[in-house]
């Protein structure tokens, strides 16, 4: 079983990078008084994180990111929050644990906790 945390961190980092690289958002942040010079450092962080993720999950992550705009989607009450299909009970993680799952209906990589 893969470690979930690097994938979760990668998802949040990608959202942050999108915020910083989108021209409109970056301009809005600069108007608020922020500086955004650290993008290259975050790109290096991303490379380090990617090297810690099992190849098969990384493949699903990148596919979800390219296709749906985010690499990871939540499961809430056993429902994929991307396509809203109910997932089988047998796929649920033990209570208190988070795990990765692939939605068989839409192909999104799911974070089920």
């Amino acid at each position: 079983m893969t470690d979930v945390r690097p994938v979760v961190e990668l998802h949040d980092l990608d959202q942050l990078l999108m915020l910083a690289s989108d021209e409109g958002s970056a301009a809005a942040l600069r108007r608020m008084g922020y500086t955004l010079g650290g993008v290259p450092a975050l790109v290096r962080d991303r490379e380090r994180l990617v090297s810690r993720i099992e190849r098969r999950w990384l493949g699903w992550y990148e596919r979800s990111l390219g296709r749906f705009g985010r690499g990871l989607t939540l499961v809430r009450h056993r429902v994929c929050q991307g396509c809203f299909v109910t997932l089988p009970t047998s796929a649920a993680p033990p209570p208190g644990e988070g795990h990765l799952h692939l939605c068989e209906n839409c192909g999104r990589l799911l974070y089920w906790s």
């Binding site: 945390r5 979760v8 961190e9 998802h11 949040d12 980092l13 959202q15 942050l16 999108m18 915020l19 910083a20 989108d22 958002s25 809005a28 942040l29 108007r31 608020m32 008084g33 922020y34 500086t35 955004l36 010079g37 650290g38 993008v39 450092a41 975050l42 962080d45 985010r70 990871l72 939540l74 929050q81 988070g98 974070y111 906790s113």
Partner: protein, 154 residues
Amino acid sequence: MAIAEVPSVTGTPLDILELRHRRRETVLQQMAAAAARNGVVRDLDSLVAVLVRRERLGTTALGKGVALTHARSISVVRPFWIVGRAPKGVEWAAPDGEPVQLIVLYLAHHEQSQASHLARLGAAAQALRLQRPRQRLASSDVATAFGLLQGEGS
């Protein structure tokens, strides 16, 4: 069930902290832990990681003793604000070189749109730019602080 255990339906999504630490990373950890105590965090370590990376992108200190930091994370269960007060000041690489005494953290759920996230952040940044709301935040209660950060009464 004791009355104290009934969750408030009108509760303000904000907490106020007196900060003990003097280092930026430790303050971020303390604030993230406070959010976790309020039940709005799915994975504390991942949240701390994204907050530290946000600082790596560029300091979130705005000058005049204020930092407005933020995260849009899958580890956040629902939007939440934390106001941290550090009378002794925390070194935050501020553009004016001054330590920060007021740190505001805005946590957004990852499904919140980028536009909505920026709008809330912008309202708070605008309020924090003015002296009066800054002074009021340094001593106000939860409800008043929340109103100030939404741009009310500034």
